[in-house]
């Protein structure tokens, strides 16, 4: 066990819990929501399905971490042709505890497009950017203090040679050990917004899975839970805010019988990868490169992935017979990705009698062509960044050592034979006033319900084309403040 839990955090033990506002999920959405509400003096209980795991008590990107901080050990898949593997954080702090930590403000044109296409009211860019400033302070968004890792440098130098726009992406980190870049501390929710929420009096119940909400017409009456030992429990509340992530928020709403535009428009960033080998040792097993190449924004972006030996082996898996010879070279290898914005869409469907929903995703022909083009451009970037040999992660891929080989890669690529994955999931309860497209209103109130809100990545109407955490937090704070304002105006 990782030691004593912080004050205000306990494993769910009571079969009856009462609170004013129940927040389901403690990730980027749930933690910020709880923090805003608790600071306003509202009684908040946060229900977290996973455990509280301290930063530093697990090796980042290890199988142990996948077991303790990810849903289903990290093995979650959106079925399709091809299927798309994804991951969900399942622990206090959710995805923020395990993600790359890369922070991107949502681009202005994107916010405007969302505002316009989904008719989101009171969505002024200045207000949102003011919240972004706050968030950046609170989680200490900053760049790496000293020189970049060799893995990052590959991206930087390759892009520079090709004349492609690139840059270091800031992360939420502190460097308390004299600015030593190798000893940064990630400013995830367990380090930032959760302690704030707890200090303001919120309670966090871990190993608390919400089975369903009991509805009376449009009003949620209580939440049913199952405790660790199998007993059933209930949590009573006046309002409930669902922040269980883009897969489990719609699943929970569906299980609770709530109808509407929920779970029909899953949006992701389909991603393909390759492994590249360099002349010298390059692999820093528990860190991720901070450089991204943004020349082809928004439809295409390149960056680095976690590259410990297990993950390097995985990247060679699709073509194991010809690529396995490289696995012992992992100290000189690093895994990189090409991510696209997708024209396709997916669905989350809760099935009766099944604990987890069916998740599907369909890539369009353009998506598949773009994945191939992205991977080819990435391979070229690797060669220009000094790679000796590049191993693209699809069945039938050639190993690449020259530009002519990149041509072969382009011609032999097929998305159906590739390992396609996504680390970002959004869009399943889109926010706005367009009733045929939105599951929640401009402030996250679920259409057709009186006291149920959503406040996580499900609200983002489309996949943003950048790491979404900043957007999730900005919206969550905005919407939580709206709730607080509503409450105080009622009291008056």
């Amino acid at each position: 066990m990782s030691g004593a839990l912080p004050a205000g955090v306990q494993v769910l033990d009571d079969t009856t819990v009462e609170t004013d506002v129940l927040v389901i999920g403690s990730g980027a959405g749930g933690a910020t929501t709880a923090s805003v509400l608790a600071a306003a003096g509202i009684d908040v209980v946060i229900a977290e399905e996973g455990d509280w795991v301290e930063q530093g008590s697990v090796v980042p990107f290890s199988l142990d971490q996948m077991d303790r901080q990810y849903r289903a050990g990290g093995v979650t898949v959106a079925l399709g042709f091809p299927s798309i593997a994804y991951t969900e954080g399942r622990c206090a702090g959710g995805g923020t505890e395990v993600n790359s930590g890369l922070y991107w403000r949502p681009p202005g044109e994107l916010l405007e497009r969302w505002r316009h296409d989904f008719r989101i009211s009171d969505f002024a860019p200045d207000d949102l950017l003011a919240i972004a400033d706050e968030v950046e302070q609170a989680i200490n968004v900053r760049t790496v203090p000293a020189g970049h890792s060799a893995q990052s440098e590959v991206l930087r130098s390759g892009a520079a040679r090709l004349g492609w726009r690139h840059g270091e992406v800031p992360r939420w980190m502190t460097y308390p050990h004299g600015d030593d870049p190798a000893r940064g501390e990630r400013q995830s929710m367990t380090r930032t917004y959760l302690p704030r929420a707890l200090a303001s009096g919120a309670r966090l119940l871990t190993r608390c899975r919400i089975d369903r909400l009991v509805m009376d017409g449009g009003r949620a009456v209580e939440a049913r839970t199952t405790l660790d030992d199998g007993r059933s429990g209930r949590i009573r509340f006046r309002e409930v805010i669902v922040c269980a992530g883009a897969i489990h928020t719609p699943a929970l709403l569906q299980r609770s019988g709530i109808k509407g535009h929920i779970g029909r428009t899953l949006a992701v960033h389909p991603t393909v990868k390759l492994a590249a080998r360099f002349p010298e040792a390059i692999n820093v097993p528990d860190d991720v490169p901070v450089h991204q190449v943004k020349e082809f924004t928004p439809h295409l972006s390149f960056g680095g992935s976690a590259s410990n030996p297990g993950l390097v082996a995985l990247s060679l898996l699709d073509n194991w017979a010809s690529f396995r010879r490289a696995v012992t070279d992992w100290p000189r290898m690093s895994v990189y990705y090409a991510a696209i914005t997708s024209e396709g869409t997916g669905r989350v469907v809760s099935l009766p009698g099944m604990r987890d929903p069916l998740v599907t995703y369909r890539l369009t022909a353009r998506d598949k062509a773009l994945l191939g083009s992205g991977l080819a451009r990435l391979a070229l970037l690797m060669l220009e960044g000094g790679a000796e040999e590049v191993f693209p992660s699809f069945k039938g891929a050639p190993s690449v050592t020259s530009r002519r080989d990149v041509g072969t890669l382009s011609r032999s690529f097929s998305a159906s034979r590739a390992s396609v994955m996504t680390v970002h999931l959004c869009g399943t309860v889109p926010m706005g006033e367009v009733t045929e497209r939105c599951g929640a209103d401009s402030f996250g109130r679920v259409h057709g319900c009186t006291n149920v809100r959503v406040n996580d990545a499900s609200l983002l109407p489309t996949a943003p084309g950048v790491n979404p955490q900043a957007s999730v937090m900005m919206f969550a704070i905005r919407n939580a403040r709206h709730l607080v304002d509503q409450r105080s105006s009622h009291v008056r």
Binding site: L162, G163, W164, E295, F296, H299, L300, R366, A369, L370, G372, S373, G374, A376, R377, A379, L380, E384, R403, R404, V406, G407, L409, S410, R411
Partner: protein, 354 residues
């Protein structure tokens, strides 16, 4: 324009001189009195005769040293014969190639094989610079209609032609690695005077309102007026220090197919022709079917031009010329509307029916 220029060579050699781009280039070279000696390659004696007549018709051709050599570029000895004993400093512009063959294997023989022979001969015989006329084909089509090809892109050859043109570029670059001074220019869809009969069909289709626009016509296409391409070739020939580089040579921005059809319609009207507004729209599916059929045919070594062109019409082929401008000091001078008008006038002057 800070690009440093070399002096005009003593001898300029042009392959494919009787072709579309070749003749436009030869015409410009004859315009320049500093180009004292030209050596032109014609494919056969019939072509040599028309080429000679073309040269003689140029006002500045009297007394100019213009030698015409006959030979098939696909044969290994042709390039060496062509470059044998040229006078003084020699630059070579290689435009010989085949775009719409009868059999697919001609792509490899002429485009890939021919270019390799030229590149090797240039290297062995001390040519100062080789400019190779490539195409967008080694890079395929844009994966998304908002995407644009940058100066440096991965190869993604589009069928037989693309593969052969990719192999041609690889042959040039391999010789550069072995000491050859060479640059590559990549014009996409080009148009202008000296165009072959198939382009006349293009004008006729627009004039009669029957140009097949696929879907919403928002596919983006870069276009290049042949005069602008010649400017680009000359810059790629004479700018110092750019060996091994490849350059997109096209208009400053890509156009949508709908814009192209509208502009050409206007140009036709401006040249006094009656134009029927375009009403022909084909669903995207039609282009996909044509593309599949094209693929199948090419896989068995056959080539059908209309199918190929229709298959390509559903795609975007858009490129970014900013590096060409920055490094070559070259800008596209003639706009689409003006260029199309000049083209149309040239066709009418030739007695062609549009």
């Amino acid at each position: 324009m800070s690009a440093e220029h070399r002096t005009t060579p003593d001898t300029t050699v042009v392959t494919g001189a009787a072709g579309w781009l070749g003749r436009a280039l030869v015409h410009r070279l004859l315009d320049d009195p500093a180009r004292t000696s030209l050596r032109l390659l014609a494919h056969d004696t019939a072509e040599a005769t028309t080429l000679r007549a073309f040269v003689d018709a140029h006002p500045a051709s009297a007394g100019r040293a213009v030698e015409i050599v006959v030979g098939d570029i696909a044969r290994p000895d042709t390039a060496r014969r062509l470059l044998h004993a040229t006078r003084g400093v020699t630059d070579v512009v290689h435009t010989a190639g085949i775009i719409h063959p009868r059999r697919v294997r001609q792509f490899v023989e002429v485009n890939a094989g021919g270019t390799r022979h030229v590149a090797e001969a240039c290297r062995d015989l001390g040519v100062r610079r080789l400019v190779h006329a490539s195409s967008n084909s080694p890079f395929g089509t844009n994966p998304d209609h908002a995407d644009t090809f940058r100066a440096d892109e991965p190869y993604n050859p589009y069928l037989g032609y693309g593969i052969s043109k990719m192999q041609a570029e690889v042959a040039v670059l391999e010789n550069v690695a072995a000491g050859l001074d060479a640059t590559i220019v990549r014009p996409p869809w080009f148009y202008g005077p000296f165009q072959p009969p198939r382009q006349t069909t293009f004008f006729r289709m627009v004039r009669t309102g029957r140009f097949p626009v696929i879907g919403d016509g928002q596919q983006r296409r870069s276009m290049a007026y042949v005069g602008n391409i010649v400017d680009g070739i000359l810059a790629a020939e004479l700018v110092e220090g750019i060996s091994g580089r490849g350059y997109w040579i096209a208009d400053a921005t890509p156009y949508t197919v709908a814009e192209i059809v509208e502009t050409v319609g206007r140009a036709l009207t401006d040249e006094g022709l009656e134009v029927v507004p375009n009403s022909t729209r084909l669903p995207v599916l039609a282009a996909r079917v044509a593309e599949t059929a094209d693929r199948v045919l090419q896989a068995v070594g056959l080539y059908q031009q209309q199918l190929h062109v229709l298959g390509e019409m559903g795609h975007s082929i858009a490129c970014d010329v900013s590096r060409s401008t920055a490094e070559l000091g070259w800008v596209p001078k003639v706009s689409l509307h003006e260029g199309m008008r000049t083209s149309i006038r040239w066709c009418l002057d030739q007695g062609l029916e549009l």
